[in-house]
Each structure stands twice: as C-alpha cells, then as structure tokens.
Amino acid sequence: MTNGTPTHIETMTSDLLQADGVRAGATAGPIGPAVEVREVSKAFPGVVANDRVSLAFHHGEVHCVLGENGAGKSTLMNILSGMYKPDSGAVMVEGREVTIDSPRRAIELGIGTVYQHPTLIPVFTVLENLMLGEGVGVRLDVEGGLRALDRFAKTLGLEVDPHAPASRLALGQQQQIEIIKALWSGSKVLILDEPTSMLTPQGIEELEKVISQLRDEGLAVIFITHKLHEALDLGDTVSILRGGRVVGSWGPDVVKTKSRSEMQALIVGAMFGEGAGSLEDVAEVRDGVTGRARRRGLPNEPVLELVKVSVEALRGEVGVHEVDLTLRRGEILGVAGVDGNGQRELAEVIAGQRSMVGGDIRLCGESIARAGVGRRQSLGLRYVTDDRIGEGTVGTLSVGLNLVLKRIGEEPFWRGGRIREEAIDQAACDLVEGFDIRTPGTETRCGTLSGGNLQKVVLARELSFDPKVVVYNKPTYGLDLKTTLAVRDRIRDLAESAGVAALLISTDLEEILDLSDRIAVLFRGRITGIVDNAPGVERHVGELMLGGDRGD
C-alpha cells in the first residue's frame, strides 16, 4: 500500500498537468458537467434549506454560487461533500447518478472541499497534514509525498515549505495547503466555501491566481460566496441562491458578453428582489470606493487617549508598540491594516482583556490603566469583539441573558443577587425590537441564531446603557450585505447623533473609507500614520498599510 500511494498521486498529478485534453473537451461541449445536482431538496426542522435546486458544474469553469447568509449555499456544499444527505433529488458525477453518503465517498468521487475555517492540524507539518488521509501503510512515503507536493506547488505557482508546521503558516498559506489537500487524492471538482472571508487583500489576490490556474487545468471550481464583486471578478458562471431556491443562473455565454454593470444589475435584482436598485450605491456593490471627507467642527474634546501603549506579543502575534491615539467626542477613527498586524491586541488592551507592558489609557481624562474589564465597561467603554461566537456570546444561554451578560448581578436585572426575569425580559424585548434581532423569542438559545443576528445581539448589548466610546473590531466581518449596511448605519448614527466616539478597527478598507473621519494605519503593531479621510486618500493609506512612509 505504501508503494501504491505515489503512483496514485502521479497519475492524478499528470491529469492535472495534461489539462489541455480536458479543457478541449470542456469547451467542445459533448462532455457533460463534472457534477450536477437535479431537483435537490433538503429540509431541517423549521426551514427548507434547499428547495429543488438544480445546477450543473462544468470542467474548466469557475462557478460562483452567490447568496446571502441562510440562502442555502452551505447546505448545497455539504450535500456535495457528503456531510448531508439530500431528502430528495439526484446528484450526478460525470453523468452517473451517485449517492454521496460520507466525506470519504465524496473524495473517492473526485470532489474536494476547502472549508471556511482551517482544518489543518497545527502541530503537524505541511507534508504530514497532506498525507494524513493516505492509505493504510505502516510508514509514510515521504519521498513520494515530497515529489507530489512539489508538482502541485509548481502547477499552482506556489512556494511551499513541506516541513513547516501548519501553525507557523499565515491564514492565506494555510488555505493554499487546504486547496492542495483537497486536490491531493485526485479531485476533479474543488468546492471553496467563502474562501476569502479569512484573507487579507494580498491573500485574496493570490487565491484568485490559484483559482484561475486550476480552471485552466480543467478543474470544475465551485466558489461559494456572499460577496457580489467576487462573483463578478471570478465567475465564468454565476448562480444565485435565495431562500433555498435558485433564483438566477447565467452561464459563460451571458457572463462574458454582458458588461460588468449589466451583470451587476442582474445579480442585485435576483439577490434582493424588487426595489434593490438603491443597493447599487453601496460600497460592497460599487466598484472602487474612495474616502468621504472628514467632518469639520467636531468638538475638540478627547474621550479616549492612548499614550505610548505597548502590549507584549503572544505566540503568533505582533503585539502593540508605543501606540498613541486620541479619539474625540463623536469622532469615528478608523484603524486600517492588513489582518494580523496587532488589531486584536489593540482592541483587547483598550477593553482591558489584556495587560499593558507600558503606557497609559485615559477615558475622559482619567486613567483607566488599572481598571478591569467590568469597570471600563461600566464607565462607558464598550468593545464589540470580532469573535462573536467564541467570546461575544454564550451559545447555550438564552438571547435575553446574553443581552445582559455584562451586567450580571447589577440592578435592575438582579436585586440582592437574585435574578429578576421580568426586568431582563422587558429590556431584552426592547433590544430585540430596536436592533431588529431575528429570533423566535428572548428565551431562544443564542447559539441557534445566525451570524448576523449574533452580531446584532453583541451590538445591542454594547451600544445600550449609555456608551461613551465603542471599540469595534471588524464589526461586519462575515455578515451578509443587508446586515453589513445596517451595522454601518448604526455606527455612523451613534457617532453623529449621540456623540459616541468609535474606534473602528477593520481589515476592510472600503468600510474604513466609508465611515471614518480620520484613518490610523496599523503595521506590525505600530501606527505608521494618521491621515484625515478625504476622497483619493486610499492610495496613501494603502502605502501605509504596507509599512511605508512613516514620516507622515
């Protein structure tokens, strides 16, 4: 078996390399789709996730499946990768009807999947991770593995250190390894689930190159996303899911012949239905966003001051080094930067979740350097975490309790240490209404809510009860378009009408340009520059993001 493995890989890789034949076949037409779903339905208690979905995925084509959160994209992907069994309908691979009853079966059928979150084992090396699923041999065939990896890397134009532990790789690199892993056992179909959600702009660019390469090699790439511009950039075929149904699908004949704006209008119409025209004005949809002008006449009243704040770098982090920032009343100060340049460290040190090794933090003129998380919270300093599932909410507790999670034991929700359910229920109902949280009830377990609604729970909690300064860490990360817009409106409204200062930490430059008065740029834990927001400022910010131009 150990001897069998490399030959197997070789055949597969040569398939990859001899792509011309496949490509010719694909364009010539007679060869059928690599994978096809026909009238596939899948229901979960209370929701029909896929409703008679029919789609065909062809060789040599990037097929973007676009839809908002909860549209049924992930369910469809899980059916193809063998995680779910459809209730009805057929799945065809290379024209034959198949039953994909396990992830293993999917791999045997040549369907490889790259999930949204990394699945590599951190302490294993790249090569070990790749060879995990291999055979039943006693010994790892390292030589053969190295050869195979080398061929993959060459084909895809990647540089890979086979002996680096997976934990040492950046998220973008990890994803590249995930892609190789999905192709390792000879997949002809590659499913990518929201692959850009974890990546920096550079990472996205590299991913796009890899995807084009794979398409040219004749693979069928299924690209699942909720970002419209990604579908426009990458898709040969674009299909839209909405409420579990296919509401639009355009093949290469349409996508290639229509202009970008025509395609965009088609897609927006299908995704959001009638009256979606106004959405085209929005950053996510519009191409190329530029800065809005800094608001003048803000009161010169500093509410949050960071003086030479430094944080020790934990493993895999860059820390924060002598950061000076001043945030005024009603101001939105954007903190731009490529992911992993100290964003979380900065947010957490302000919130009090991390200790400073030097410097001072002042809230309304008073030092809070020695105050704990709870004290800062009650002084009006709020932190909207970027990890709403991991630390922002407690999935097993009710929505109501999550809304008062930071006020446990405080009046009026507790009196003498005893819970007052009516008070909590009352406040929770108001917040659910005010923040448009879609939940069956305030007693619903928080973990059953969608990502967008979880974020609304977090926002409702942080932005209520008299906030003065709010630190937002990637507030719209992973949210669908409508929720994203709602969240941004709320940040803006709160700053403009209620004078709540916002420190907007985001890796989405468009978001920062759209909302900020001033923009600070974080690079390797240092502020490389602070600029006034203005039309045309993005180039300068981009340079700062790469570390240049410190003298500004």
Binding site: G372, V373, Y383, E391, L397, G417, I419, P440, E443, G447
Partner: protein, 387 residues
C-alpha cells in the same frame, strides 16, 4: 425530574416575544422534555438490557436478579430505608459535582476530599460528642468537614486559577495524597486503642445523628435534599450561579464579560469540595460512627454518570440518585442471591456510561444538545456536535 420539566415548559412558554411565532416555541417545548427524559432513561434501560444478556450468558435468570434488586432495594421495608440512607451522601456529593461541572471545573478528587473529611470527623467525633451537647458537636463536626473538604481543593483550584494547570490531574493527585493521609490519621493519632483492626473510636449508636421519627433514616437525608434544592436555586436564579454557568459554557465569554475567572474558579472549586466534606460528615455521623482504615466507598465515579444523565440539573439528580441507591443497595442482595461478585453492579454503571456516550453522540448529531456543556466538551477534547 417532573419539577424540572415543569419549569422548563413554563420558562419556554414565557419566551414568546411580541410578534414572534408562538406556535413553534410551543411545539418544541412540548417535545423537548420528552427528549430529555429519553436521554436520561435510555442509557439506563439499554444498560439493564445488556446486563440481562450477560446474566443469561452466565446462566442466571435476569428477571430474578432484577426482581431481587427491586424487592430488596425498594419494596422491602428495611431495604427502602437503607436506600434512603444511602441517598444522603450521594445527593450531597452530586450537588458538589454539579457546582463544579457547571463551571467547567473537573473536580475528580471528590473521593479524596470525602475520605479526609470522614477521617477527621471520625477522629474528632467521639471526644467532641462526649464533651459537648450533641447538636453543637454535630454543627462543629459538619463545619470541620466542610472546611476540610473545601480546603483540600485549594491546591488544584489555585493552580488552575493562577497557572491554568489541568485540575483533572491535580485533583486526582490530591486524591491519592488525601486517601493515604486519611489512612495515616486513622492508623496513627486517631487510632482506637480498643480494637484489633486499625480504626477510630466508635461513636455510640445512640449518639449518632437523630432519626426521622418512625424510621431508621437519619436527618442527613433532609440536609441533603435541602442542599440539592439550594444548589438548584443558586445555579438557576442567582447572579453567582449564572456567573459559574457562563464560566462553564464559555470561559472566553466570561473573560470578555469582565467576570473574575480566578476568583470564580477558586470559589466554585472550594464549594464543590465543601459538599464532599459535608457528605462525609453525614455518612460518618449518620451511619457508621467510625471509620476503619482503608475504607473507601468510592461514591464518586458512579455519580459522574448520574450527574451527566441529569444534565447537571440538581433536581433531576434526585430520582437518578434514588434509582442508583436502589440498584446499589438491592444489588448487593441480588448479587449474593445469584452468587455473583458485588462488582457486577459496577459493570452496570460502566454500561450506563457507555450508552450515555452513545446517546451524547446521537444528541450531537440531531442538534438537540447533549449532557455536557460546550465548555466541558472542549475540556474533554470531544469537539464536534456544535455548529
């Protein structure tokens, strides 16, 4: 169990937010309790079925065996009193486990905390009861046991709170130390001069905890039931209980919400140990009156299964502990009748644990939620099951 079910239904029906669909919440609540019940009873029934097969294979009649258990443990006048007496320490220890497990603290060292407290109570008991009014002596001895049981958790609690050391290992190590230290005390300073075997002096039967009138059941059972209800109240209705639950369900969220994790960890751990100590006081002062060297009833392990079957709900623990007490008291009798070793009962407990794991897996797949909180699951390294 019934009481929990009722509160569950009540709280869920209160859930309906203005303008939200009431019907859906109603139906899911109607069936949720049935699921919980099945989850608690299913593994027990399966374990009894498999044990029956084993008994058949051993040439014993399982029906006779189970009938012996039930008739001795439940329907025999003396038997049911034995069962009730056995429930007292078990309920107290279960309360201690629930406090800890809810907070994601794995207090594995319950037996060590129990035995050390038992040794001290048995050692200090005879002279104290001789010198003071009984009531005062009992209070002093119970407080001593609580302090000893709680105190024995300080080392693992502090190591976990301060350095993040795994308390499964440290509390287990403390158990070895505790058990042997207890033996050392019994064989050394507390050793009775009147007996051959090493043991403490005996508290005369008349001087033990008062009985419930008309029975042999001592008031420790009442104390235990009060403790269970108190734990249930604290965990569900108070800020302190909620803080422990948040810590257990998601420690990072606890830090994010500004809870003092080290303090909660230490207080929760000590509280858990205190219940173990109280259980020891009740057992020694209510049943034995002395402790013999190398005595170890090993109450802890089966209780793990029971508190998880009860899904860490203190009230649901009562019927399960009752059931277990029937099995363990009646089981001795049945095993003797069938000429089987006493260990056969441990095997049934083992099977229950095994089938619980299976149910847990199935529950994870059907997205119903299992016995363990998310935090506990993570601590166990089980991972899966959650979205």
């Amino acid at each position: 169990m019934v009481a929990t079910v009722v509160t569950d239904v009540v709280s869920t029906s209160r859930a309906v937010v203005r303008g939200a669909s009431a019907a859906k919440a109603g139906t899911s609540a109607r069936w949720a309790w049935l699921w919980s019940l099945g989850q608690a009873i299913g593994p027990i029934l399966l374990a009894l079925l498999v044990s029956a097969a084993l008994l058949l294979a051993l040439g014993k009649n399982p029906l006779t065996f189970y009938r012996d258990i039930v008739s001795q443990g439940l329907f025999n006048k003396g038997g049911i009193q034995d069962t009730a007496i056995r429930m007292a320490p078990l309920l107290l220890m279960a309360s201690g486990l629930i406090v800890a497990f809810r907070a994601n603290i794995w207090n594995i060292g319950g037996d060590g905390q129990f035995l050390l407290a038992a040794a001290l109570v048995a050692g200090a008991g005879p002279p104290l009861i001789g010198a003071l009014p009984n009531a005062l002596a009992f209070v002093i001895l119970c407080v001593t046991a609580v302090v000893v049981g709680g105190g024995w958790t300080v080392v693992p609690a502090y190591l976990k709170a301060r350095y993040g050391l795994n308390e499964i290992i440290t509390s287990l190590m403390m158990t070895f130390v505790g058990v042997n230290f207890a033996n050392l005390l019994i064989k050394g300073p507390f050793r009775s001069t009147t007996t051959q075997v090493p043991q403490t002096d005996v508290i005369p039967f008349k001087e033990l905890l008062p009985r419930i009138p008309g029975t042999r059941i001592h008031v420790g059972l009442v104390l235990a039931l009060i403790a269970v209800f108190a734990v249930h109240y604290v965990m569900t209705r108070t800020a302190f209980g909620l803080k422990l639950r948040v810590l257990g369900a998601n420690p990072r969220a606890a830090a994010h919400a500004g809870l003092s994790i080290p303090r909660l960890t230490i207080v929760g751990f000590m509280l858990s140990g205190a219940f173990m100590g109280l259980a020891a006081a009740v057992e020694v002062l209510g049943v034995w009156g002395y402790v013999r060297a190398d005595w170890n009833p090993n109450f802890g392990l089966p209780l793990f299964a029971l508190v998880f079957l009860a899904r860490l709900n203190a009230l649901a623990v009562i019927p399960l502990v009752g059931f277990y007490a029937v099995i363990s008291m009646g089981g001795h009798f049945a095993a003797r009748q069938a000429a089987l070793p006493d260990d056969f009962m441990l095997m049934i407990v083992g099977l229950i644990l095994l089938f619980m794991t299976l149910t847990e897996y199935l529950a994870g797949r059907s997205e119903r939620g299992g016995y363990l909180s998310a935090g506990l699951k993570k601590a166990l390294g089980k991972g899966g099951g959650d979205e």
